[in-house]
Symmetry: none
Subunit: 222 residues, 2 copies
């Protein structure tokens, strides 16, 4: 079963070059010439990696990247025309996994693709299990996005920050409501329940939020 690389590149000659080399290297390929349908295609064909040109007709590469990150953690390699771009991009947290600068040799592209795939393979079953982007309130579990409400996200953050450590309901409430609001502690249970439901929609067989009878809750990865 071949892995599919999605090539998003408006310059036809370049796209073909990528395609040929990647196929030669044993990958399946798909091509798009503009940014309009990228997200739709990603959802459909679930590529193993996306090679994304930064300058595209129709839509900016950065926007596409952000959009994809809303629902998927698929590896993305950005292709840019200018070296100076890269430094700028590196500073930004917008979620690409690597950057290639034109002009480049097709061999280099293949090498990078392999490198990124290898990395993401080794990381998959490890720390990438749960990723919490505090700035964006974006939680991903095994590469899939968890659509959490603000309170749910916070709750998960607090628990996941100290895996294994048990927090009681008062501690959790104190951290979530720092305005000293008084809420019934069963409220926590309620949010926990919703969190668990959303999490189990992604990983039905793995429990990550455990209750400790008479004490509280804890987060613990498999």
């Amino acid at each position: 079963m071949k892995q599919t690389i999605l090539i998003v590149e408006d310059e036809q000659r370049l796209a073909n070059l990528h395609r040929d080399y990647l196929q030669q290297a044993g990958f399946a390929t798909e091509c798009l010439e503009d940014g309009l349908l990228v997200t739709a295609r990603v959802r459909e064909s679930l590529p193993a990696l996306i090679l994304l040109d930064l300058m595209l007709p129709g839509k900016d590469g950065l926007d596409i990247c952000k959009e994809i990150r809303k629902f998927s953690a698929v590896p993305i390699i950005m292709v840019t025309a200018r070296v100076e771009e890269i430094d700028r991009l590196l500073g930004l947290e917008f979620g690409a996994d690597d950057y290639i600068c034109k002009p480049f040799s097709p061999r280099e592209v293949v090498a990078r693709v392999k490198a990124v795939l290898r990395r993401s393979a080794t990381l998959q079953d490890d720390s990438t299990f749960l990723h919490l982007d505090e700035e964006r309130y974006l939680a991903t579990l095994q590469g899939q996005v968890l659509d959490l409400s603000a309170v749910e996200f916070q709750l998960l953050s607090i628990l996941a920050a100290k895996p294994g450590r048990i927090l009681n309901r008062d501690q959790l409430m104190d951290r979530i409501y720092n305005d000293r609001r008084i809420v019934c502690d069963r409220t926590i249970d309620s949010h926990i329940k919703k969190l668990r439901r959303k999490i189990s929609a992604v990983t039905p067989d793995i429990e990550v939020i455990h209750s400790v009878y008479g004490v509280g809750y804890k987060y613990e990865a498999p």
Copy 2:
């Protein structure tokens, strides 16, 4: 209290990149540009993890690693420029905890750092006969986990805090129920009994909770 990551990297741009991402991820950072002062720094600032470039001016990364291992078990992640290096390194027993190959995405580095830290945290000692982790309500006896209820855990903690010292039932109740609840003192006996049963499931031949006729109970390791 943040954990400190010590970055040892001669390429300034790369070091800054690491630093920014790790700080973003909630770590404190320190940087060194060559290998000469690494061991001294490790002794001083006791970092939680070291990110160590293999190729350094002044001293070889491997040597540094070995040197550190003589006095510390701090987690070390080696950074190397070439994939082939890794295979070679993996064969050698020199004590790094993980390897990262250039080029890499800063996100990956953060992920690896977290993964290694998590692993080393869970590997923490099972050398002591009885270990009580108050934070996670986790009691281990000779490396085996005792599945205790909240009260049982407290009871064992109180007794084990003063080995050999005899505590009567009132003292024990006072410490367990600081809300001045009045309970029958036979309740203690009941919990003691359950504790003993769970403990003897792990170490059938060793009695650690002793009753002192007419006085109370004490904990005493073999």
